[in-house]
């Protein structure tokens, strides 16, 4: 990490303001509000986790952050710059600093290209240096992700899932990005190698000063790797704070339920007897509930929750929540009743 970037650690590298992303349904009759008014900063050098159930809008935020899709409303600033205001050429070179990696390494790698050729590709597209220089950088990236030199000559089908994911990471690293959005990057990997890949992310962050946005539905993964975590429900953030705070002193009823639902590999004597089992499933983002979006499943919903959208407020330092009643003293996980 350079001295300059080390100094700026903690400053916002990405600022998201009132982000909205809407899609037309395939019959064009309705609009899906995939992301509906989200605000946050990602700080330089941190790992920012986003957690939520499927369809909550995590991937959509990730794609918007690297401008793979255009926000329907609101703004995303990179280092204070609005990339959409840049010229075409400037935009193309700017984008290299903000990369995204997805769950399935098979989809990201061309089966007919050698591993080295796959890693070289982004460098060639960006016309970086001479051919020899590009190859040197690609080999360096492979070495960084812990793949032996001879893997460069192999094809994707000759690699395991974990090794393929390493290649995809190497590919994202060649352009020396500042930020990488990691969308469910360990979900497809076997348990025994997930640890390896998570360790690799941590090493690269330390060595290269990278910033990550780590998207996952897996609470264990997010709490292991992130400094801060945001909890998403139906296109909105319901809670955001330091990981330890959110995991141990959650403020939002949805977060509390999510933590309680997580199956824990603990012996019976150490598992909590009562758990909160939410009724029903996530409503459709085409027609979300009025007021608080969680009210149809919330064990604490009140008439107010139907009428009024809860404000996004900083209830404790750096710990944000959107719930009318999150500051009630008796509103803690311990006093929550399990639904019958």
């Amino acid at each position: 990490m350079s001295a300059a970037s080390a100094e700026r650690r903690g400053e916002p590298i990405v600022s998201v303001r009132d982000l909205q992303v809407r899609f037309q349904t395939s019959d064009r009759r309705a609009t899906v509000k995939a992301v509906d008014g989200v605000n946050f900063d990602v700080r330089r050098g941190e790992t920012f986790g986003i957690i939520g159930e499927s369809g909550s809008g995590k991937t959509t935020i990730g794609r918007a952050l690297v401008f793979l899709l255009k926000p329907s409303a609101g703004a995303i600033l990179h280092d204070g710059i609005d990339p959409l205001a840049l010229s075409r050429g400037e935009f193309q070179s700017h984008r290299r600093d903000y990369q995204i990696i997805f769950q399935d390494p098979n989809a990201a790698l061309n089966p007919r290209m050698t591993i080295l050729a796959s890693v070289l590709e982004p460098l060639e597209l960006a016309r970086v240096g001479s051919r020899a220089e590009r190859e040197r950088q690609a080999r360096e990236a492979l070495e960084r992700v812990g793949l032996p030199q001879e893997f460069g000559e192999r094809y994707p089908h000759q690699l395991s899932g974990g090794q393929k994911q390493r290649v995809v990471i190497a590919r994202a690293l060649t352009l020396k990005p500042k930020l990488i959005v990691c969308d469910e990057v360990v979900a497809a990997l076997d348990m025994s190698i997930r640890g390896d890949v998570l360790n690799l992310f941590a090493d690269l962050q330390r060595d290269l000063g990278l910033t990550y946005v780590f998207i996952t539905h897996d609470l264990a993964v997010v709490s292991h790797i992130s400094e801060r975590v945001a909890v998403m429900y139906l296109g909105q953030f319901v809670e955001l704070g330091p990981t330890e705070e959110v995991a141990e002193r959650p403020l939002h009823p949805y977060t509390i339920a999510l933590l309680s639902a997580e199956p824990r590999p603990l012996p019976s004597a150490m598992r909590e007897e009562s758990r909160i089992v939410l009724q029903g499933e996530v409503p459709s983002p085409i027609d979300p509930p009025s007021g608080c979006r969680f009210r149809t499943r919330c064990p604490h919903a009140q008439p107010l929750c139907i009428d009024r959208v809860p404000e996004w407020r900083e209830l404790k330092p750096d710990h944000w929540v959107a719930c009318h009643f999150a500051d009630r003293p008796n509103f803690s996980p311990n006093t929550l009743e399990t639904t019958p």
Binding site: R194, G195, H217, L258, P265, P267, M270, R271, V277, E281
Partner: protein, 358 residues
């Protein structure tokens, strides 16, 4: 074993019980492939007692699904042979005729899968599909079948089943489809339910509902459950016993508590230690080096040897699934001398000590 742990006591009782419901001995499956005959699984031994809930865990490709399918004799087209015995309530399923199997499948042994959509027929209503299973196996009138279907839908937690019974599968959410699958599998009151990753495609809050339902049903109707999953948390929440598979073999068989606290096989221990939520936040995660050997290049001797930190001279010999005392089994000759960490570590935390001494 102390009081206050009814689930565990039940498992003990079941294990010492007279006759197991299912007794698999030396089960092995072969497939024809372009590279010759592949031995996908071999030497699988385990028992399931009536009403017992057993988790089958292991990484992708270790043979969990194949084992489940072979009990029902539902093997893919390139199936090339089955060794061993599958004793179910005294009958060897391995030597049953196709006709005998049809009478058992769906009635006495039922199976549910990860993706309920692929198991439900899109052109029939859910009510029709559930009632049909009942009508194939029992002599009931249309009205009786419909009434029983309604009752079963209610039982699996479908709200206002009268309104749902005539819905088509695509009209239901993922969680509701899995409930319908469970209703269809339970309608004939099977003695054994094989559930292959039944919650992997579901969100965590819906997963919690389905696991609670499976546990509840097995307790109240005494249906034995064989739960196939790669998620050790799911096993801990749902089952009383855990069978760990590696590279086509059973490598450990113990109660869930024993396996989590004091695993005897280095692979089980490695798996438990590599789980993120059990290690200190932001610390390095222990992981198992290397990868599962492919079927084509299975090593002789212990199949875990190339990845095992405890490999020694002697491990190159074939490993038997041996009795480790107290009803436990392990496929590692060094188990007694290794003192392996489990899910709680350091293993001498008061909580771990408390569990270990029970």
């Amino acid at each position: 074993m102390e009081a206050g742990q009814p689930a565990q006591r039940k498992a003990e009782g079941a294990r010492d019980g007279a006759r197991p419901l299912l007794s698999v001995r030396g089960l092995g499956i072969r497939f024809k492939t372009s590279q010759g005959i592949w031995q996908a699984t071999r030497r699988i031994d385990f028992d399931i007692a009536p009403g017992e809930r057993v988790g089958i865990v292991g990484e992708s490709g270790c043979g969990k699904t194949i084992t489940g399918l072979s009990i029902l004799r539902l093997l893919p087209g390139n199936f090339a042979g089955l060794d061993g015995k599958i004793l179910f309530d005294g009958t060897d399923l391995a030597s049953c005729s196709a006709r005998q199997m049809r009478a058992i499948r769906g009635k006495r042994i039922a199976m549910i899968f990860q993706e309920p959509m692929s198991a439900l027929d899109p052109v029939f209503t859910v009510g029709h599909q559930i009632a049909e299973t009942l009508r194939v196996h029992t002599d009931v009138s249309y009205e009786e079948a419909r009434a029983k279907t309604l009752e079963m839908l209610r039982r699996v937690g479908i709200a206002s089943p009268e309104r749902r019974i005539d819905d088509y599968p695509h009209q239901l959410s993922g969680g509701m489809r899995q409930r319908v699958m469970i209703a269809a599998s339970l309608i004939c009151g099977p003695q054994l339910l094989i559930a292959d990753e039944p919650t992997t495609a579901l969100d965590v809050t819906v997963q919690a509902q389905i696991l609670e339902l499976l546990r509840d049903i097995s307790e109240t109707s005494k249906t034995a459950l064989m739960l196939i999953t790669h998620d050790l948390g799911v096993v801990a929440e749902t089952c009383t016993r855990m069978i760990t598979m590696y590279a086509g073999e059973v490598i450990e068989d113990a109660t869930v508590d024993e396996a989590l606290v004091r695993p005897l096989h280095p692979y089980t221990s490695g798996l438990l230690r590599s789980l993120p939520h059990l290690s200190p936040r932001h610390g390095r995660l222990p992981s198992i080096p290397g990868r599962v050997p492919s079927i084509a290049e299975m090593p002789a001797g212990c199949r875990f040897r190339a990845r095992c930190a405890h490999a020694a001279k002697g491990c190159e010999t074939e490993q038997k699934l041996q009795d480790a005392g107290g009803g436990r089994k392990v496929r590692c000759w060094r188990f007694a001398e290794l003192n392996l960490p489990g899910a709680l570590h350091p293993p001498d935390t008061p909580a771990a000590a408390k569990v270990a001494t029970q």
